[in-house]
């Protein structure tokens, strides 16, 4: 049965009601609630514990994680560079030929070659092809040179560059091998279709074959092997030599000679290197004849 609420009619009644058991209990509970929070930080601790329990499920966000990610990204980037290089280095170690070497190194990549690795690649070439890379005597000198520190190989758009480096990081010798040169090193010298007269490098230095050989045989006998050091390259060809041209610049002590061949109505040109000084001797003879 509901009691009719009435206003306390005197002060004693007010006090009685204010300090009733229920009121005091509620007050004590509230006070304990607030006091215990201030004293024991139970809310913070509960919240903190709960959040700690879910820590692993939350995202790694915020400036400090970003910096951590930058570090991790930087390491990944550096590791990618290193592993790419190591992979290239591994492929280079397996290379059995200059073609393998060139195909292992992409443009912009570089590796260090051991002297013995380079020596093995060099010795795998036929003598005529090896001469195109570097003269054997020069290689012997480089490899026996105390200052040679390492051999460095760099991929380029055109092929590969090989650097012989001293202990001061200076390039002692640089060999540039174009892709076309590399394939000819492996496959041997092959004629290409065309005329000497179409090649600007031979302009003004194209001679009829008869005139060329006549001038050649006026040279002392010991010079001729230096001029055409690998006659087998020419002897292997089926066609007839009609013209011979002399290249307008020398490279590594050699000057390129172009032999124009007529084979079943097809004109082709085959290149052979002659020693620079021997070719100059021949040029003088040829000029003398033409005068």
């Amino acid at each position: 049965m509901a009691q009719q609420w009435y206003e306390p009619f005197n002060f004693t009644e007010w006090l009685k009601r204010a300090f009733s058991f229920l009121n005091i209990a509620v007050l004590i509970i509230t006070a304990m609630f607030v006091f215990s929070e201030f004293r024991f930080d139970w809310f913070e601790k509960m919240a903190g514990s709960y959040l700690a329990s879910t820590n692993e499920l939350r995202p790694q966000i915020g400036p400090i994680w970003e910096k951590g990610k930058q570090t991790s990204n930087a390491h990944q980037y550096l590791n990618a560079i290193i592993s790419k290089k190591e992979k290239t280095q591994k492929n280079v170690r397996k290379a059995a030929s200059f073609s393998d070497l060139a195909s292992s190194i992409l443009p912009g990549e570089w590796v260090t070659l051991e002297s013995r690795e380079f020596k093995a690649l060099y010795l795998s070439l036929q003598r005529a092809a090896a001469l195109k890379v570097i003269e054997p005597a020069q290689l012997v000198w480089l490899l026996n040179n105390d200052t040679l520190d390492r051999i460095f190989c760099e991929g380029t758009q055109k092929g590969i560059n090989i650097y012989f480096i001293d202990d001061q990081n200076r390039v002692i010798k640089k060999i540039e091998l174009a892709n076309a040169d590399i394939s000819s090193l492996e496959t041997g010298v092959k004629p290409i279709d065309g005329h000497l007269s179409d090649m600007p490098e031979f302009q003004g230095r194209i001679y009829r074959a008869n005139d060329f050989f006549k001038a050649l045989f006026t040279l002392p006998k010991d010079i001729i092997p230096d001029l055409i050091s690998h006659p087998e390259v020419l002897l292997r060809q089926d066609g007839k030599i009609t013209h011979v041209g002399i290249w307008n610049e020398s490279k590594n002590g050699y000057i390129r000679l172009g032999f124009e061949l007529e084979t079943n109505g097809v004109t082709q040109v085959i290149f052979v290197n002659g020693r620079e000084w021997a070719v100059w001797q021949l040029s003088l003879n040829l000029k003398g004849n033409s005068n």
Partner: protein, 660 residues
């Protein structure tokens, strides 16, 4: 009624708890994960830059965490007193302060009261932006609770003092102690510790380098607070207030402090990105020679002080002339020293690399080389110093004048370069064409845009000292070019090579012709506009050329020995003439050449003396300066004949009619 109020309070408290829990569940997924331990991701590997002698020049991206026992107790007390004196009593939140702050925020508009505990500040600095929102504040508080639950007070304080920002780029107490006082955090005294503890509130406003008095006032507040909270006695506080800590002069902040390093870092960032440079832990082996760098800085400083005195400029004037110096190893292209201005901390602008100024006559060696190579001229070719007017299509004639404003008549080209005769240079460029001059400058490595005008030969196109030092080094090697560079090698943290530099030579100039120009430039130092160098006691074989731009805005000297090429520039940043107190223009020979000589003398002190090698087919002849003929054979009798030694190629003849 009372019961109702009490119930109401209890209900409110319960609702508060429930809503608190609801909020936690609601925003929990937006809260960041905490690392364990806290300091794990505070530390990042440092990238280091080494000098050529192996000395560490700078450590980049360093976030070195130091243990609490390596920090001055005064600093720990000071930071606790000023930031959170109840740190050891709360669990991430100071409730009374928070309620007070809430009251002030709600009922006293315009007033702000901070209540963040050290734990909350740590949470904010590690995980949140500086955006001021209630939600961010709430998240920060929750993360602080978790930090308190998962870590000891010692661990929290350790993380806090190692990541706190003190301004001037200093993060962490160790860095701050080094930046502001040049000492370790352990060695901070009470006054210094209190000053540093006052900075985090507003690192910019209290930066002691800019606002020393303000920083001292803040320090005094910290000291008072330390006394109030019982960390120090009143006497100790008062004594500390009397002291004025001296700031570390050598380094006013965490900037590199070096023009060379700025240039190097910019290079690295362009190549590998900021992440790799600052967070990759790489090792960069630079070309810088600390001994030469030190000499360069001293030479520039003393040279510019002399220039100030010459111009009547005192320390109080804010606009003072600047200077730059670059020294390059001619045999490799390695940059050995670089100074980009008189005071890095006042101006970081690198005048050695990024400032392009008119080199004046410093460009003439390129012209003379072009004339020798293209026209067959040689040092004994005779030309006439006379008024010159060069017709230029579509504009008025070009009438270059000599600095002396006089004309001397006939003279050999060597003499013309020694005396820096502009009219003869103008006649030469008219014959070679400006494109021939710019072509020589280009193959020597000048990359700045060059105008295709006659006056380019007199140095009217702007270039940097870096370019000039590099281009002149091609003459030093008699025609072999080495591109300049700032580092040799880069390794990752494990010593694996990321990049390695090889020195490649490119022959770009004819050796004998280059030697002829070098021989003429040697005489510039021995008897020409650079003779002050000999007066200063620099007696090694060296060659060079002064340069002074029109109206004396720029004064240069670029010169070289066979091993070191150095360019010195002086002038104002803004267009302003270099004039002395007698209103006379200051030339490169008066200001830049002495700096060059001072530097080179000290830089090469321990190196053996070497002369430039004389190429094959070069012979020396003594000729009459006026006729270019052998003085005994030219048939003219004159007792006052002035003779000069010239270098000629074997096929070149004297008394020819070239150039007449």
């Amino acid at each position: 009624m009372i019961r109702f109020c009490l119930f109401f309070l209890l209900v409110i408290a319960s609702i508060g708890c429930l809503s608190g829990m609801f909020v936690i569940f609601y925003i929990e997924n937006d809260l960041p994960q905490l690392p364990s331990p806290l300091s794990r991701i505070i530390e990042t590997p440092q990238s280091q830059v080494f000098a050529a002698n192996g000395q560490v020049l700078i450590t980049l991206g360093e976030r070195k965490s130091i243990p609490l026992n390596m920090v001055s107790q005064d600093f720990i007390n000071a930071i606790l007193a000023i930031e959170d004196h109840r740190f050891y009593d709360h669990h991430g939140m100071n409730k009374l302060r928070t309620l007070k702050a809430l009251y002030i925020t709600l009922f006293k508009p315009g007033k702000v009261q901070g209540a963040s505990t050290i734990t909350q500040q740590l949470a904010k600095n590690m995980f949140f932006s500086f955006e001021k929102t209630y939600q961010r504040k709430l998240k920060e508080m929750l993360v602080a609770f978790q930090i308190e639950t998962s870590n000891t007070k010692k661990e929290i304080l350790h993380a806090y003092i190692n990541q706190i920002h003190f301004g001037a780029g200093a993060q962490g107490i160790e860095k701050a102690a080094q930046v502001f006082f040049g000492k370790s955090a352990l060695d901070l005294n009470l006054s210094e510790a209190a000053l540093l503890a006052g900075l985090p509130k507003s690192p910019t406003n209290y930066n002691p380098y800019h606002y020393y008095d303000r920083a001292l006032k803040r320090r005094n507040i910290v000291l008072t607070r330390m006394h109030q909270t019982g960390f120090i006695t009143k006497l100790a506080a008062e004594q500390a207030m009397q002291s004025k800590p001296s700031l570390y002069k050598a380094r006013s902040d965490s900037r590199t402090g070096s023009y060379f390093l700025d240039a190097l870092i910019r290079n690295l960032v362009a190549e590998y990105g900021e992440g790799v440079v600052y967070y990759g832990g790489i090792k960069v082996f630079s070309t810088l020679d600390p001994r030469l760098q030190n000499h360069a800085e001293v030479s520039i400083r003393t040279g510019l002080e002399k220039l100030d005195a010459l111009m009547g400029i005192d320390d109080t004037q804010t606009v003072r002339p600047q200077g730059a110096l670059v020294a390059i190893d001619t045999g490799s292209g390695a940059v050995k020293a670089m100074v980009g201005g008189r005071d890095y901390y006042k101006s970081e602008f690198n005048r050695a690399m990024n400032s392009r100024r008119q080199p004046g006559s410093g460009f003439k060696p390129f012209l003379y080389y072009a004339a020798f190579k293209n026209l067959g001229f040689h040092p004994a070719t005779v030309m006439t110093d006379k008024p010159v007017s060069v017709k230029i299509k579509g504009t008025k004639d070009w009438r270059p004048r000599n600095f002396s404003k006089t004309f001397s008549g006939d003279m050999v080209l060597k003499q013309a370069l020694i005396r820096s005769v502009n009219t003869i240079a103008a006649q030469l460029v008219e014959k070679t064409g400006p494109d021939a001059v710019t072509a020589v400058a280009r193959i020597c490595g000048i990359k700045s845009p060059l105008k295709d005008v006659y006056s380019v030969a007199l140095g009217t196109s702007t270039v940097s000292p870096f370019e000039m030092a590099s281009a002149y080094s091609v003459f030093a090697t008699l025609g072999t070019r080495h591109d300049p560079f700032l580092f040799w090698r880069i390794e990752d943290a494990f010593g694996r090579i990321i990049f390695e530099r090889f020195v490649q030579e490119k022959r770009v100039l004819d050796t004998a012709t280059a030697y002829q120009v070098v021989d003429m430039m040697k005489s510039v130092i021995d008897q020409g506009s650079g003779r002050v160098i000999r007066k200063m006691g620099f007696d090694r074989p060296a060659a060079g050329k002064t340069g002074t731009s029109d109206n004396y805005n720029d004064a240069w000297f670029t010169g070289f020995t066979p091993t070191l090429s150095t360019s010195v520039w002086t002038g104002f940043d803004k267009k302003r003439t270099l004039i002395d107190q007698r209103k006379k223009g200051i030339t490169g020979g008066r200001v830049a050449a002495p700096i060059w000589a001072d530097f080179m003398r000290k830089a090469l002190k321990s190196d053996p003396e070497r002369d430039f090698p004389i190429p094959d087919h070069i012979r020396f002849e003594t000729v009459d300066v006026q006729t270019g003929c052998n003085p005994e054979e030219d048939g003219k009798e004159n007792e006052n004949k002035v003779v000069i030694s010239v270098s000629l190629k074997s096929e070149q003849q004297l008394c020819g009619d070239e150039g007449q």
